[in-house]
């Protein structure tokens, strides 16, 4: 029973690590590529380390706590490094798959009304994606909103 559980944890961790690196290879964009390996860190290596902790606690004379040190360290540092990488990519102005925000939407909102500006921008892009002619007709309710 313990062996079955350990095998399940190990295979889960290995599959998540594999999928994380697959995302690193397959995804098109730096910002989307950032998404894959962070999940591989937390879920993949996390479950591998939990499996190792259970194994050495069952085998050895006492409870093994080294793994939780590594787990906690990885759980703390993974978001920090991902945030720094995203900041670097933004600083270097890397090409993104997402569309650039329109200048009008930013100018209308101002610094205090960022949320409403984003909402109108989203509405504008979806409208133009569906029907470019209907965008003008639909701008009146947007203006009343903001």
């Amino acid at each position: 029973m313990l062996e079955f559980f350990l095998s399940f944890l190990i295979l889960t961790g290995a599959i998540f690590t594999f999928i994380g690196s697959l995302g690193l290879v397959r995804l098109k964009d730096m910002y989307t590529r950032l998404h894959g390996p962070t999940k591989a860190t937390t879920l993949g290596v996390g479950s591998l380390l939990i499996a190792s902790a259970i194994y050495f606690s069952a085998q050895g004379p006492s409870i093994s706590l080294h793994e939780f040190l590594i787990t906690i360290f990885l759980l703390i540092t993974a978001p920090v490094s991902a945030h720094l990488l995203a900041k670097t990519a933004l600083h270097l102005n890397l090409t993104s798959l997402a569309e650039k925000p329109e200048k009008d939407a930013i100018d209308q909102g101002g610094p205090d009304e960022v949320d409403t500006a984003e909402e109108t921008e989203k509405a504008d892009t979806t409208d133009t994606a569906v029907k470019p002619e209907a965008a003008e007709a639909l701008q009146a309710p947007d203006q009343t909103k903001s």
Binding site: L24, V25, V45, Q59, T77, V80, L85, K87
Partner: protein, 89 residues
């Protein structure tokens, strides 16, 4: 059963290392390469933990902990260099 699953897991993690190495060589920009290095050290931790279970030795955790510390410091240093042009200001 545990031995077989460890071997499958080692094969999967080795494939992951190969793929992140491909991204390290190919990556169009510098942040892609930093991300590939970050993924490489995390995959190395996974391989070390798997080897620790496979060989039944608890010696590998210190190595894994050191790799985690040094890898994080390396990622932060490279990002700071690209962000600010300097590491320690």
């Amino acid at each position: 059963m545990l031995a077989i699953s460890i071997q499958i897991a080692l094969a999967l993690v080795t494939a992951a290392v190969a793929m992140s190495f491909w991204r390290l060589l190919r990556g169009p920009d510098a942040p892609d390469r930093i991300l590939a290095l970050d993924t490489l050290y995390i995959n190395t931790i996974a391989i070390l933990v798997l080897f620790g279970i496979h060989l039944g030795s608890a010696l590998f955790f210190e190595a894994a902990l050191l790799i985690a510390l040094m890898g994080f410091i390396g990622t932060v240093a490279l990002c700071k260099y690209l962000l600010r042009g300097d590491i320690i200001e």
